[in-house]
C-alpha cells in the first residue's frame, strides 16, 4: 500500500528535526524478532524448557507487576554539574528507593548543557522550560525540589529534609556543606541513622583534593580520568597513528569516571544500610571519588608498576594480555573478535583459514604461537592481528559476524548508536526502550541494567523532572509547609 505523500520543504537542517521525531519514525524501525524465532534459538541447544522458564520469570514486560527491592528507602540527592550523584541515586531509584533531588532555585547547570550548544536538541517541559538530554537521561525516578542553601531558611529546610532521609548523596566542593553547617558532622548529630555519601573527582581532603577556580568553576570529569592513569593508558600509540591525529592519550567519550564513582557510591551506601539495619542502627560517612573508583578498576596497572616499574602504554584496540581480543578494521567499520583459550583461538583460525589458507600456515604452525600465554608477546599480537585484518579488510561486519558465529566465537560488530537501537537482541530485550513521559513526550533511553530479575526488578518510571515540580508535595509531607508559606519562601528566593 502506498504511503501518503507529505509536502515538506527543507531549507536547513533545522527543518528536518521535526521529521525525525518518534511520531514520524517510531522505534523500532523494524520489528524485533518474534518469540517463535527466539524459541527456535533455544531449541537449537536443547534448552527450550530453560529458555521458556527464563522468559516467563525474567522478562521486563512483567516487571511492573512485581515488588520493588528498595521500597521504603528514602534518598536525598544534592549536587550539581556531575553525573556521580545522579547515577548513584538513579541506580537506587530504579530499584524502588524514593529519591528527592535538591537543586538550587536556578537549577542544576547540567540542565542547560546540550551538545555543541544546540538548543534545538533540548526538550521543553510543560512549563516551557528547556532541559538538556544528559540531565533528562540521568535523573531517574527522582522528585525535584529547589532550595537555596546560601540562605539561613534554606539550610533549615534542608536539615529538616535530611532528618527524614536514610541515604544522602552530596556532590559539592570539599567542605562547602560543612561550612554552611549542613555537612555530615552536623546532620549526623540530628539524624544518627543517616548514611551520608560525598562524591567528587579527587577527594574532599588530601594534597590533591578537589578545587574550584578563583571564579568558582568546578572540577568535572575528565579530571577524575586524568588522575588515575586511565587517559594515559587509553588510545592509540604513536606507532599506529601520528601524534595529534589520533595517536594520543584519549579520554572516554562519556563522563565515565563519574559513572564508576556513582555505582560504587550506591554499593557503599547499600552496604552501610545493611550494616545499619542488621547490626548497629548507626549511619556513617562515605566518600567516593571518580579518580579512585576508576583506579580501582584499572586491572593491575599500578600493581604492575610496583612489580617492575612498568608504566602501561597505550595499545589502541588491542589488549596486551589476551590474544585474540581486539577489534580491527574491516570493509565497513570495525569487527571485534575474541577467543583466548586454545579451544577458541584455533576455532577463530579455522574460520579464517577457510578463506585465507595462508593464515593457517603462518599462524597455526608458528611454534611461538602454540602456547596460550606466549601468544601475548608483542610480536605475537602484531602477527596475529595483521593476518586477521588481511581477512577482515575484504568483508563487511555482517559477513564476518555470520562466518564467525558458525564457529560459536564471541565476536561482534562495532556498532554506532542507531545500529545499537536496531540490533535484534537490543530490541528484543529491550535494552533501549521507549517511555511516554508526562513532561517530555516519547523518549528513547538506555534501560536499567537491573530490570531483568525474577522477584524485584528495577524499573524506570520517569526521566528528568521539571525544576521544583515537587516542592509543594515534599515540603508539605516532610516539613509541613503550607501553600502560603511556600509562596513567601519563593518570594524570598529560598525555593
Amino acid at each position: 500500500m502506498a504511503k501518503k505523500v507529505r509536502e515538506v520543504e527543507i531549507n536547513s537542517r533545522e527543518d528536518t528535526l521535526t521529521l525525525m521525531g518518534p511520531d514520524v519514525r517510531p522505534w523500532p524501525v523494524t520489528p524485533p524478532p518474534s518469540p517463535e524465532e527466539v524459541a527456535a534459538v533455544y531449541a537449537r541447544r536443547k534448552a527450550e524448557e530453560f529458555g521458556k522458564w527464563c522468559e516467563d520469570n525474567l522478562r521486563i514486560d512483567y516487571a511492573r507487576g512485581k515488588p520493588e527491592a528498595l521500597q521504603g528507602v528514602r534518598v536525598l540527592s544534592c549536587g550539581q554539574w556531575r553525573m556521580g550523584h545522579k547515577f548513584a541515586a538513579g541506580l537506587l531509584g530504579e530499584l524502588g528507593a524514593e529519591v528527592i533531588n535538591v537543586e538550587p532555585p536556578s537549577g542544576d547547570p547540567l540542565r542547560k548543557l546540550t551538545p555543541f550548544g544546540r538548543e534545538e536538541y533540548m526538550l521543553e517541559d510543560k512549563n516551557g522550560d528547556k532541559c538538556g538530554l544528559d540531565f533528562i537521561h540521568e535523573l531517574r525516578n527522582a522528585y525535584s525540589v529547589t532550595l537555596n542553601l546560601e540562605t539561613e531558611k534554606g539550610r533549615e529546610l534542608y536539615t529538616k529534609l535530611a532528618q527524614h532521609a536514610d541515604i544522602l548523596i552530596e556532590e559539592y566542593p570539599p567542605g562547602y556543606m560543612d561550612n554552611l553547617g549542613i555537612g555530615y558532622r552536623q546532620l549526623s548529630q540530628i539524624n544518627p541513622r543517616l548514611i551520608y555519601c560525598w562524591v567528587g573527582e579527587h577527594g574532599q581532603w588530601g594534597p590533591m583534593k578537589d578545587k574550584v577556580s578563583k571564579y568558582g568553576q568546578w572540577m568535572l570529569d575528565p579530571f577524575g580520568q586524568a588522575a588515575c592513569s586511565f587517559i594515559h593508558n587509553t588510545g592509540f600509540p604513536e606507532d599506529l597513528l601520528p601524534r595529534g591525529k589520533g595517536g594520543d592519550p584519549t579520554r572516554s567519550g562519556v563522563w565515565f569516571a563519574d559513572y564508576v564513582a556513582g555505582e560504587q557510591t550506591a554499593v557503599n551506601a547499600l552496604a552501610a544500610l545493611f550494616w545499619r539495619d542488621e547490626f548497629s542502627g548507626e549511619g556513617q560517612f562515605i566518600e567516593t571519588t571518580a579518580a579512585e573508583a576508576l583506579m580501582d578498576i584499572l586491572d593491575f596497572d599500578i600493581t604492575w608498576y610496583g612489580f617492575n616499574k612498568s608504566i602501561k602504554a597505550r595499545t589502541g584496540g588491542w589488549d596486551p594480555n589476551l590474544n585474540q581480543y581486539a577489534w580491527n578494521p574491516c570493509k565497513d567499520g570495525y569487527m571485534m573478535i575474541g577467543g583466548q583459550t586454545d579451544r577458541l583461538w584455533y576455532r577463530i583460525g579455522m574460520c579464517i583459514e577457510r578463506e585465507l589458507p595462508i593464515f593457517g600456515r603462518l599462524i597455526h604452525e608458528d611454534p611461538l604461537l602454540k602456547e596460550m600465554a606466549a601468544r601475548n608477546a608483542l610480536q605475537a599480537l602484531t602477527k596475529t592481528y595483521t593476518m586477521t585484518t588481511m581477512w577482515l579488510r575484504n568483508i563487511n561486519r555482517v559477513e564476518a559476524e555470520e562466518k564467525l558465529m558458525q564457529y560459536e566465537i564471541a565476536a561482534g560488530p562495532l556498532l554506532y548508536i542507531d545500529e545499537v537501537a536496531e540490533f535484534p537482541h537490543f530490541k528484543y530485550r529491550p535494552w533501549v526502550n521507549v517511555l511516554e513521559d508526562e513532561q517530555y513526550g516519547t523518549l528513547l533511553y538506555a534501560e536499567s541494567t537491573n530490570a531483568y530479575q525474577m522477584r524485584t526488578p528495577a524499573r524506570v518510571k520517569w526521566l528528568g523532572r521539571p525544576l521544583g515540580k515537587d516542592n509543594a508535595e515534599v515540603f508539605m509531607k516532610y516539613i509541613g509547609l503550607g501553600q502560603t508559606e511556600l509562596r513567601e519562601l519563593k518570594e524570598q528566593g529560598v525555593v
Binding site: 594515559h232 589520533g246 579520554r251 554499593v267 602504554a313 516519547t442 531483568y452
Partner: protein
C-alpha cells in the same frame, strides 16, 4: 528506666563530650582524616559480616561483583575447575609478569598479573561440576550460603541441575545471579567479553578521535566495562539482600554486560530517539563544554628519562575554563583576547568550529612549554588544570598515599604487593572496605571448605583429588 523529667545530655543533639566538641571544631580536612583513618580499617567492623557468597565465575566481570562483597566483609568462596583454574590466571601483560609460587595447574609458571584484584579476600576451592559425584557437595554449599554468582552460558547450569530452578527448592533464601553477555533473547548463547560490550553497546563509537581528525573508535583501556558492569551486579545483590530481610525470599538476577555499556551513554540514546542524530566521536574535547579538554604540550617533563612513556608521553594536560570569567582569564594568559571577543558565551565557544580554533590556540601557546609549566601557569592564575598522570606519577602521588588508596600489602602468599584496589572504591567511616589477600592458588582452601565446613573426611577429599574432581 529513664526519668522523663530529666534532660540527659546524650539525648540532646550536639556534641556529647569534650572529644566530640573538639571534633565539631576541627578543621574539616583534619576531621575527614580522623573519621576515615586510613590504615585503621581492621579495627572497625565489616558491613556484610555473616553473608556467605559463592563465586562460580571466570574472567573479570562476574568475579568483580563478588570481590566487592568480599571487600565489604562477606565470606566468599571462589570455585574453579580443578587443575585449570580461572583462565584469567593465564593472562599477563605481554606475557611478562607472573607471581609465584608454582601450582599444579601451571607447572612452568605462576599466576599471571591479569588475575589481580578481581577475587580479593576469597577462599579458593576447586570442583568439577560436570560429575554427578560432586553434586551433593555443591548442594551442601548452596544450603549453607546466601547466594551465588555464575557466568556460564545460559542453560549450562540448568543442564547440570544447578540453575535457580533447582536451587530455590533447596534454599528459598538463595539469591542467584547470572552474569554474561546477552541473556534471554535471540543472542542468548552469544559469548561476551569486555571489549565486545564496548563495541556492541555503542560506547566505542563515541570514544576516540573523529575520523576527520585521523582517529579510530577507541577502546577504553583495561577491562573497564567488565569491572564497571560487575559493580552494578553488586548493587542488585545488595538491594536483593535488603528485600530478603523483609520477606525471607531470594531471587534470580540476570545481568547483561553488553547492556551496561549502553547505560552510560548519557544523551546519546535520547538524542537518536528524538532527532535521529547519531552521536559521533569528539576526541579529547567535550561536546557540551569548552574549554574542557586535553591539550598536547610541546616539551616533555622528563626529557632525559630512557622510558618512552616518560620521555615522550608526559606531555598532556587537562585544561578546564568553560565559565565566562575563567575563559576570559585563559584567553588573557595565552595572549589571545581576540578569542574572548569572538566567543563570549558558552554557547558560542562550544560550537565545533570554535572548539577547533580555541584548542589550536591553546596548543600553539603550549608548544614551547612543558606540561608542568602549562599546569603551573594556569593554576597559579586560579584556573583549573592538571597533568594527565601516568602509572609512575599515580604511584608516587602523595594524595593517594595519604588517603590509603594505593598501598603496599604484605600478602600471606606472595609477600609485598602494591595494591590499587579495594581501598579505592570509597572510604567508609564505620565499616570500611579492606583487602586481606589478593588471591590464593587453585584449590588452596579445599580442606578448609570441604572438610571443615562441609564435613567430608580427609580420605574423601584425597580420593576426589586423585580422580581430578577437585
Amino acid at each position: 528506666m529513664k526519668d522523663q523529667r530529666v534532660t540527659r545530655i546524650e539525648d540532646l543533639p550536639g556534641p556529647k563530650s569534650q572529644g566530640e566538641l573538639e571534633e565539631m571544631k576541627m578543621p574539616y580536612e583534619e576531621y575527614c582524616r580522623k573519621v576515615f583513618a586510613p590504615g585503621q580499617e581492621k579495627t572497625k567492623p565489616e558491613s556484610l559480616k555473616g553473608i556467605r557468597w559463592l563465586s562460580t565465575t571466570m574472567y573479570i566481570f562476574t568475579p568483580h561483583s563478588v570481590a566487592n562483597l568480599a571487600e565489604l566483609g562477606a565470606e566468599c568462596i571462589k570455585v574453579e575447575m580443578p587443575r585449570m583454574g580461572d583462565p584469567m590466571r593465564h593472562t599477563s601483560p605481554f606475557n611478562e609478569c607472573y607471581l609465584y609460587p608454582l601450582h599444579d595447574s601451571r607447572p612452568m609458571t605462576g599466576t599471571g598479573l591479569g588475575f589481580t584484584n578481581a577475587n580479593s579476600n576469597e577462599y579458593y576451592i576447586s570442583m568439577d561440576y560436570h560429575v554427578p559425584e560432586m553434586k551433593e557437595a555443591f548442594y551442601r554449599l548452596v544450603k549453607l550460603s546466601d547466594g551465588l554468582t555464575e557466568c556460564y552460558r545460559p542453560g549450562t547450569f540448568d543442564r547440570w541441575k544447578q540453575s535457580y530452578r533447582y536451587l530455590q527448592e533447596l534454599n528459598p533464601r538463595f539469591i542467584y545471579v547470572w552474569g554474561g553477555g546477552f541473556g534471554y533473547g535471540p543472542k542468548v548463547f552469544g559469548g561476551s567479553y569486555d571489549i565486545l560490550g564496548q563495541a556492541h553497546a555503542g560506547l566505542a563509537s563515541v570514544t576516540g578521535f573523529h575520523e576527520d581528525f585521523g582517529g579510530h573508535c577507541t577502546k577504553h583501556s583495561n577491562w573497564c566495562i567488565d569491572w564497571y558492569s560487575g559493580t552494578q551486579i553488586t548493587v542488585a545483590i545488595l538491594a536483593a539482600l535488603y528485600w530478603r530481610r523483609k520477606t525471607g525470599l531470594g531471587t534470580m538476577i540476570e545481568f547483561s554486560q553488553v547492556q551496561a555499556a549502553t547505560r552510560c551513554l548519557g544523551y546519546g540514546v535520547p538524542l537518536y530517539g528524538r532527532f535521529g542524530i547519531v552521536r559521533q566521536r569528539w576526541g579529547n574535547w567535550d561536546t557540551q563544554l569548552c574549554v574542557h579538554g586535553i591539550i598536547l604540550c610541546g616539551k616533555s617533563d622528563y626529557p632525559d628519562e630512557p622510558n618512552p612513556q616518560l620521555k615522550y608521553e608526559a606531555r598532556y594536560a587537562v585544561v578546564s575554563a568553560f565559565n565566562d570569567p575563567d575563559f576570559k582569564e585563559l584567553c588573557a594568559i595565552i595572549g589571545r583576547n581576540d578569542l574572548w571577543d569572538q566567543y563570549k558565551t558558552l554557547q558560542d565557544r562550544v560550537r565545533p568550529q570554535a572548539q577547533i580554533a580555541i584548542y589550536k590556540a591553546l596548543e600553539d601557546w603550549a608548544a614551547d612549554k612543558t606540561r608542568s609549566q602549562v599546569v603551573k601557569t594556569l593554576t597559579d592564575a586560579g584556573l583549573l588544570a592538571m597533568p594527565v598522570m601516568n602509572d609512575k606519577e599515580v604511584y608516587e602521588c602523595e594524595h593517594f598515599r595519604q588517603r590509603g588508596t594505593i598501598r603496599w600489602l604484605d600478602d600471606p602468599v606472595f609477600g609485598d604487593l602494591l595494591i590499587q584496589s579495594g581501598y579505592s572504591c570509597g572510604l567508609m567511616s564505620k565499616t570500611p572496605r579492606r583487602v586481606n589477600w589478593l588471591w590464593r592458588p587453585v584449590g588452596a582452601d579445599n580442606v578448609k571448605i570441604y572438610h571443615e565446613m562441609l564435613g567430608y573426611p580427609m580420605s574423601k577429599i584425597e580420593e576426589w583429588y586423585e580422580k581430578n574432581l577437585i
